[in-house]
Subunit: 329 residues, 2 copies
Amino acid sequence: MRIVIDAMGGDNAPAANVEGALLAAKEWKDTEIVLVGDETAIAPYLGNERPGNLTVQHASEVITSDDEPVRAVRRKKDASMVVAGRMLREGSADAMISAGNTGALMTTGLLVVGRMHGIERPALAPMIPTIDDKGMLALDLGANMDAKPEHLAQYALMGSIYRQKVQGIERPRVGLLNVGTEPGKGNELTKVAYPLLEKLPIHFIGNVEARDILTGTCDVLVCDGFAGNILLKSVEGAAGAIFALLKEQFSSSLKTKLAAAMLMPELRSLKGKLDYKEHGGAPLLGLSRLVVKSHGSADANAIKNAVRQARIAIENQLVESISKEITGK
Amino acid sequence: MRIVIDAMGGDNAPAANVEGALLAAKEWKDTEIVLVGDETAIAPYLGNERPGNLTVQHASEVITSDDEPVRAVRRKKDASMVVAGRMLREGSADAMISAGNTGALMTTGLLVVGRMHGIERPALAPMIPTIDDKGMLALDLGANMDAKPEHLAQYALMGSIYRQKVQGIERPRVGLLNVGTEPGKGNELTKVAYPLLEKLPIHFIGNVEARDILTGTCDVLVCDGFAGNILLKSVEGAAGAIFALLKEQFSSSLKTKLAAAMLMPELRSLKGKLDYKEHGGAPLLGLSRLVVKSHGSADANAIKNAVRQARIAIENQLVESISKEITGK
């Protein structure tokens, strides 16, 4: 199998991306890793011991985080991200990984890689951390702000297959993000989506409330991009504010300072637990090939882990399985 | 002025409601307090020293938290909540307070009290706690799941006037809940609402993100009921999960247990800070008279505080001010 890594995307590019590619190439000899990006920028990080299964594909341009997604993908035809996407479309690679501009990666998915037949809206599906450490795959989170009920049904199906194929959960529990657990609850979108989800060949557990997300109430959380964004950022903001307050209160006197120092390791581990950056790359589901979005601040290990994810997905024929369920063929 | 209290609504009714009414009647001699509910249930809590400005209006029925709102309001014509609403409509009281079934109170507002001329959708506006202790008035939170852009504009106007008139903020900062701070961001609803909010006679500060809510980024937060619910419950859930985890981790060894014991007062004060139940009653804005929703678990003090809120609103002609802005008369 062949996995392409966008060498130029992300805050730590190209260093972290190249180091991650090296780690992956050394660990999985059966996997060809292709680094796409500026050869001269990549070379210093490659060193002398380049593994035989790692190659570099030159690309002269870079899409930055400030670029307007659609315009950048259309104009920068030799950008590392776009070149990687083209390799997927042409069938010369099975998956791509990028830590670059999320909007541009979505656009590359839509305009360069191409949608899967039968899918109207591909979805971005990051893992939301839960306190039981199992995490929850949430989709859509940011690819499309508005959704129709049929889109939510496709998200549910794709998310369920992903957790089965890539994470080995036999019967993933799928929940619909809503304002109450009773079936009749919600806005126009979720009210119409509910019966659609009931009819799917998935383990639909009904509506789930935002307050139960962190306790791991389901394995796949279905929502439109707007509601998903509000959820993720609320949790992020609440956790950040609480830790900041704790720090402030704990340093208010010598007594509490000493006590807090003793608890610091526990506090740090808790903070790490709730950091969604730690929870692997987010697949972009519903494209003709697998695209994985690594976090913008991904380090070498995060890139390597994204390769691991992609490998499992390819081995277990994730894209083919989704396509089969969607088209019925 | 005359303020009606639903004696039978809430988890601690009628005890807390009657005690709260007594506290309020004693503190504000110029205010007539009317307790509406079952006379025989109310009597034991009233005691012998009933203040001259406190009266009881008998109502034989009660709407419970399990009642289906619309049906209950239509059928239980002698329910305490409905009788109180009728007093507002007939002009025999200036405001009502209830800790009962939220949906039923909304329905009472719409069907019994009646909307303000020019308002399509009344909004429920609770205070979301912020770490600067100033709180943020958020609307709509639960009255209507879906909203049109024009509704959001009316929420913005009503919320701004409320914070001005009742909480004395001279120039309340009004923010639109969104997925990014740039003007073009969002779903179809917020994209269309943004320019409408810009045209209003308010201090519109633009889009605000869910992650900045707890730090008090604005005084009035405008959102549809669905997004607002997701926001509020995410914050609630995240805070709950983090405190539970802290407790668990802090009791993992004798050392951390001792340290945690020293920090307990700080932790408790932090928890109280983030408890939105502590932050007063939520006005239902856009009705022809003021309706205040007290939290279901309201105690006597919370009921008294709701009376304080209602008094200030009446003194400062909140309803008249909103009506003037909406109708331009």
